[in-house]
Symmetry: C2
Subunit: 329 residues, 2 copies
């Protein structure tokens, strides 16, 4: 969609500005820029810019915060990759694999620091009211705290065998929904939206973030590695309690469950064992179930947009919602 | 000093409020609170509260930001301890030793998130102007970025044998000076100080932070472990390029340098080898040199305070400066 391509093009130089190549020591600049340069869909910046225009602002009004959201996202990716011992993302080596854990921890912290500087610059340029400025900062800082909570839940789940679907939803709400909510909400705040519209966009953002994570779990099973950027089945090998796994463990007959358990959480699982586990997940309907749940959330997210007048920006928000469940990468 | 005891007492419940025991998952609350509960001098909150009153504000005006500064400081400690593989601080086990690295990374991130939420609450309560609010946020976010830069420099120094004293100063300016500058500056901003006074307090804060780090290096050699909270000589064993080491390497005759190199950066060094190295550092005058440099910086810091009218708060800032070089812990 042309509108979203424009958004992504708009934010790119702004992202570049906040993580300038001039940053010293040079290794810090490189580590901060690495994953951002490797790609990414700029989903969160696009959410912020579209939300800003959809409530009556101009896209440019949210540009620093849109960039901040991409820095924010990449901060969480760098730290997550350390914690999950992931070696590849976006088809490149992860930051800690290239530069070691200490530099990766600092590169994440440094991106996080820039988030608030960029948001402050945005508030300052627009001459925002104190109330809106505080709302903007609360949106960003609370999202980051929720992300931490979601990440801890995710880790705790790895050691538990009784995780419920409700708990899974709570976890992805923090781990993925909080930041997409913050993106859409921040755009609305910067567009000076009414309380009702800010709330609607916040709800929309939360839902599509959660749907995004569920679809991510689906693509981790059904996707193609070249497009998806991560090895297919790695969630199984790492023992991630995704909704697909939770559902399959509930539905699978004894023998299929054994097939699953041969690969689940086993770093030494062969690719045959992983393939067999994937077949089980498909066969018992767990993959379809999660894909359907994601579609329902996207439909609900789109309903939230009804408070907005028709516009290209609103269409973009609808398109983002559709993209979340239709994408292959 | 009674004034500073009052400051520390004032900020304690506010710190507690931002890292409530109610935070869930519980392990996150525990990991966030661990080092803060283990002690610490509350130096940065005291700087902020005293600076606020010294420019004509009330101490209470800076209370949320004072708490935020302690969260900020502890965020950096938790991440530093991971990177340095330090096992003890404040006479307790470090966060990553107790809960593992992933939880420690997240606990640090979560404290950092709260910094900006607390500062936003402060700006909101005071009804600060947009300009002052942005200045406050820039102060905090830029300090955190400088900290990252200082930390990277520190790491790079470990692999180099040609670190200059000037480079060392640049490193501690980021690693320690940036946050004490931010503390004093934030207090001044919240006290609605003139530009001149904000600058003076910023300069004062930077200098005492750097002096603090140099004195820390001195105490790491001359101090008593019970008071200091870290094993004496651990900087030597870890191969830290402190100013004491840089100076000693320059001044020590061949044979003393050999004694130093037997312990420096050798995790297997015996306590006798560490003791012998410490004796060299004292004998060649490197410890005295660094202690003197720290005293000079403290004197310079106190000169910056001349723009302030006499007050209990100003006396407190002078006392903090003196404490930095007179302390034993």
């Amino acid at each position: 969609m042309k509108y979203l391509e424009e958004c992504a093009a708009l934010v790119e130089p702004e992202i570049d500005r906040w993580i300038s190549k001039e940053i010293r020591p040079e290794v810090l600049a490189k580590a901060m820029r690495h994953l951002i340069e490797a790609g990414g869909k700029r989903l969160r910046p696009c959410l912020a810019l579209s939300a800003c225009e959809a409530v009556g602002g101009k896209r440019e009004d949210a540009i620093e915060t849109a960039a901040a959201l991409e820095l924010f996202h990449n901060f969480t990716l760098i730290h997550d990759d350390i914690m999950d011992h992931d070696e590849f993302r976006r088809n490149v080596k992860t930051v800690h694999v290239i530069w070691g854990e200490p530099i990766a921890i600092i590169a994440g912290d440094a991106l996080f620091a820039k988030v608030f500087e960029a948001a402050a610059a945005n508030a300052s340029r627009l001459g925002l009211s104190l109330e809106r400025t505080v709302e903007l900062f609360n949106t960003l800082s609370r999202a980051s705290f929720e992300l931490c909570q979601g990440q801890v839940l995710d880790m705790l789940f790895e050691k538990r065998n009784d995780v419920t679907e409700e708990e899974y939803m709570q976890m992805i709400s923090g781990k993925t929904g909080a930041l997409t909510e913050a993106a859409a909400k921040a755009g609305a705040i910067l567009g000076n939206a009414s309380r009702e519209k800010v709330q609607a966009l916040a709800g929309y953002g939360r839902l599509i973030g959660m749907a995004f994570q569920m679809q991510d779990d689906v693509l981790g099973i059904l996707g193609k590695q070249e497009k998806f950027g991560k090895p297919i089945g790695s969630d199984i090998r790492e023992g991630k309690k995704t909704l697909i796994i939770l559902r399959a463990m509930k539905l699978a007959p004894e023998r299929d469950r054994e097939t699953l358990l041969k690969a689940f959480g086993k770093s030494s699982a062969t690719s045959e064992e992983i393939s067999a586990a994937i077949e089980v997940l498909k066969k018992v309907g767990a993959v379809d179930y999660v894909a359907e749940q994601a579609q329902k959330m996207v439909a609900e997210a789109k309903m939230k947009l009804r408070v907005l007048p028709e516009s290209r920006a609103k269409e973009a928000l609808q398109a983002i919602a559709d993209f979340v469940v239709e994408r292959e990468f």
